[in-house]
């Protein structure tokens, strides 16, 4: 047992003080957002350059890092916090801006042009001319509960998590709260599974608790497989302790001494951050034997996936942890009765666990006041695709799609026409523009044929072909079907073949009826969630975008200009300036022309790669 072990509330308070001094040091602090999205836009190089410049200016300041603030579109983000002043967040900090930024700090100057916003946490005087965090369109309608610390603390520091109130809920729980009391709070709060299906979390805990058997397990499902959703990655990378605290509270309530987290292999940084968090928690005695001298012991093991979408399905996930073949099996029995190694097992998703400490801290009543009648609290969505502000947003349930797309997302990219939002991953569906005022909660999304899923929200514009989208999802599911049951294995392949045929312009009358017929069979007879929901993207696109299918089948046209067999590229004689920019990127030398004169495109040579379309600054490449 190490001497660092936390026992009393006072021990925790001491660490809170230490954490606060790290978050708000007595000298200037420069932090860079270093989650995967930040790093891939160059955050690491920016941090290195800042460090060099700081040395050059002999500045006495602290360099730090944070997780993802959610506004990924504006990465890399750099935050400057001078003692006694608000924190200024600078957006799109490329390497060439760093020298000026640091020289400004040395001269106590603020570069208003580059500032995204200012965050006032402790001090009231604000900088004139820089919007407040809560006034920025992207953040205005958000309510951060699960993401409360993401981008605000250094995920490598357990002290900073404690400074934000972390592990106080756990301390409260282990010092006098009965397990039943905790389960009641979670039930009353109305928290539902954030992984997709939306089963009431407290209810799930109760079933596992009351299942027969001495040995039970909890699992954190971090196999975030839905393409287009990445909130779990951001939480694991940006605030791993919030998930861990939720798991420990859950373990105590259910009566479990071992937990697992199953993280997908595609998230190496998330695995590293969470593994480190476990180690820190063990050092402080927050994990391990006799936590806070309460007699309760708990440990967490990390299992990594190896790239299989079906492993997000709970039975397949369990099989994968057991080391066997990752195949689903019929339910019941449900994992709560017979799961990991046939013991009662409670599985919750990353975001669900991260909500738990706040609910314990602020109470069921507080939480249940947020959201709609049946869907309580907030939900994190990844707003991506053809939208101006891509990023992670956490909003109260019941907010409308239009608020998310237009107010938070800043509208459609390049002022194009909004066509649809895809939610729920490959199990979900496409919601058309006509339903833009739909309030977002579990029930309403299901009513329109889609589902909540893990929270991916892919925005599509007039240049997105809905038949192609259906083909894409079927291709994805065909690849990922484990092959165990016939309807899923064969049905998805057949559906994909039909849709691919339609995209090629070889569709026939009767194809749609056949598609609908197979879709219903796959839905009704598949073994697990993958197959049971596989038809949703097809059914919703057929329901809302039947005209696009008809155009492909009857007129051999792709109205969105996507399906390569049905489109051709040409040059607009009216707008072509003859700049020649499109000539070089063309891989087949299909474009020719003299400088400053109208260019021409040889249809025979064109492979329809779209490189010219991407390059032309005058919108002179026409896709038809």
């Amino acid at each position: 047992m190490s001497n660092k072990k936390i026992i009393t509330l006072n021990d925790l308070e001491c660490l809170r003080e230490k954490g606060l001094s790290l978050i708000y040091p007595d000298k200037t602090k420069i932090s860079v957002g270093m989650s995967t999205c930040g790093i891939s836009t160059g955050a690491r190089e920016v941090l290195q350059s800042i460090s060099k410049e700081v040395k050059n200016h002999k500045l006495d300041c602290v360099l730090g890092q944070t997780g993802c603030l959610g506004f990924c579109q504006k990465e890399p983000l750099v935050e400057i916090l001078e003692p006694g002043k608000p924190k200024v967040v600078y957006a799109e900090m490329s390497l060439n801006k760093v020298p000026e930024l640091i020289s400004n700090i040395a001269n106590h100057k603020i570069e208003k042009e580059w500032a995204l916003c200012q965050i006032i946490e402790r001090y009231s005087p604000k900088f004139p001319g820089i919007p407040l965090y809560q006034d920025v369109g992207f953040f205005k309608k958000q309510k951060k509960i699960a993401l409360r610390n993401c981008g605000f603390i250094n995920p490598d520091s357990i002290e900073e998590y404690i400074a934000k109130g972390g592990y106080f809920a756990l301390h409260k729980v282990l010092n006098g709260m009965k397990p039943e009391e905790i389960i009641d709070i979670i039930i009353e709060s109305g928290l539902r599974g954030r992984g997709g299906a939306g089963f009431p979390t407290g209810k799930k805990w109760e079933i596992t608790k009351s299942s027969k058997g001495k040995i039970k397990y909890i699992i954190c499902n971090a196999d975030e497989g839905d393409p287009g959703a990445y909130m779990d990655r951001c939480l694991l990378e940006g605030d791993p302790h919030s998930i861990l605290e939720g798991m420990i509270i859950g373990a105590y309530a259910i009566g479990v001494d071992t937990g697992y987290i199953y993280v997908r292999a595609e998230y190496p940084l998330a695995i590293a951050k969470f593994t480190q968090a476990i180690k820190q928690a063990e050092e402080y005695g927050i994990l391990g034997k006799d936590i806070f001298n309460s007699g309760f012991s708990f440990s967490v093991k990390v299992n990594t996936g190896a790239g299989a979408f079906v492993c997000g399905e709970e039975m397949a996930l369990i099989a994968s942890i057991e080391g066997g073949w990752s195949g689903p099996r019929p339910r019941p029995p449900f994992p709560a009765e017979s799961g990991l190694w046939s013991r009662p097992t409670n599985i919750n998703n990353v975001e669900t666990w991260a909500n738990v400490p706040v609910i314990i801290d602020k109470g069921a009543h507080w939480y249940s006041k947020i959201g709609t009648v049946k869907s309580k609290g907030t939900k994190v969505f990844s707003v991506v695709g053809k939208v101006n502000n891509t990023g992670l947003v956490e909003v109260p349930m019941g907010i409308s799609l239009s608020e998310i797309v237009y107010e938070i997302g800043g509208g459609i990219l390049n002022n194009k026409k909004f066509k649809a939002v895809q939610t729920g991953g490959p199990s979900g569906g496409c919601i058309p523009g006509s339903l833009i005022d739909l309030p977002v909660d579990y029930e309403r999304l299901t009513e329109v044929g889609s589902m909540m899923g893990s929270g991916g929200m892919i925005v599509m514009d007039e240049n997105t072909c809905m038949v192609d989208v259906a083909k894409y999802f079927l291709g994805f599911l065909e690849d990922e079907s484990c092959g165990k049951c016939v309807p899923c294995r064969e049905g998805i392949e057949k559906m994909r073949e039909i849709v691919a045929k339609i995209c090629k312009g070889e569709g026939e009358v009767g194809d749609i009826e056949l598609l609908e017929d197979i879709a219903v069979t796959v839905k009704e007879t598949s073994l697990c969630g993958l197959g049971q929901t596989a038809a949703n993207p097809v059914l919703t696109t057929l329901k809302y975008f039947k005209n696009e299918y008809d155009e492909h089948i009857r007129n051999k046209r792709c109205p969105a200009g996507v399906c390569v067999d049905l489109i051709s590229y040409s040059i607009d004689a009216k707008t072509c300036t003859g700049c020649g920019a499109c000539v070089r990127p063309c891989p087949t030398n299909a474009i020719t022309g003299e400088k400053r004169k109208l260019h021409s495109l040889d249809q025979e040579k064109c492979i329809k790669c779209g490189a010219c379309y991407e390059t032309c600054k005058f919108d002179s490449i026409i896709v038809k």
Binding site: Y230, G305, G307, F309, S320, G323, W325
Partner: protein, 150 residues
């Protein structure tokens, strides 16, 4: 083949069958792929049928039975990447390297594979090469990006 490294990996996971996936991952990190003779050896050591180990090695997408090149290129084809032109990025990369996805260049420099979402959707379309993620790609950026790798 020298099986010392394999033995060390097996010992690290206490020869537990339930750790087979992690064991295979470590082996792949060592060799960049899963050689068949190693899979046979692992099955024997763990006391499980070869068919089970072979099944795991072929079921999970990150495992490869084929020797990979020095750099592994993963072109993301998640939904956001698809919508924002991921397929074209893939085709451009294929043309640049003169190989199809799922194969390795003749000089063993690059292996090209597709991946279903690496969770960098806000920067779509993206490619991951070894550990680095390249986002907001256009076809034009591909040659320059590839040049960075030796």
């Amino acid at each position: 083949m020298n099986f010392n490294k394999i033995d060390r990996i097996l010992e690290k996971f206490s020869m537990q069958k339930s750790q087979s996936i992690s064991i295979l991952q470590d082996i792949q990190n060592e060799f960049s792929f899963l050689p068949l003779e190693v899979l046979r050896y692992v099955a024997k050591k763990l006391g499980v049928p070869f068919s089970l180990v072979y099944h795991l090695a072929t079921f999970y997408k990150t495992f490869s039975l084929k020797r990979r090149g020095r750099h592994l290129i993963n072109v993301c084809l998640g939904t956001a990447c698809h919508i924002r032109g991921g397929v074209r990025i893939l085709e451009k990369t294929e043309r640049e390297l003169n190989i199809k996805s799922g194969s390795t260049t003749v000089d063993s420099k690059f292996s090209l594979e597709i991946v279903r979402c690496i969770g960098c959707c806000s920067l779509a379309p993206v490619i991951r090469i070894d550990g680095d993620t390249h986002g907001r790609l256009t076809q034009e950026k591909i040659p320059r990006m590839l040049k960075k790798y030796e």
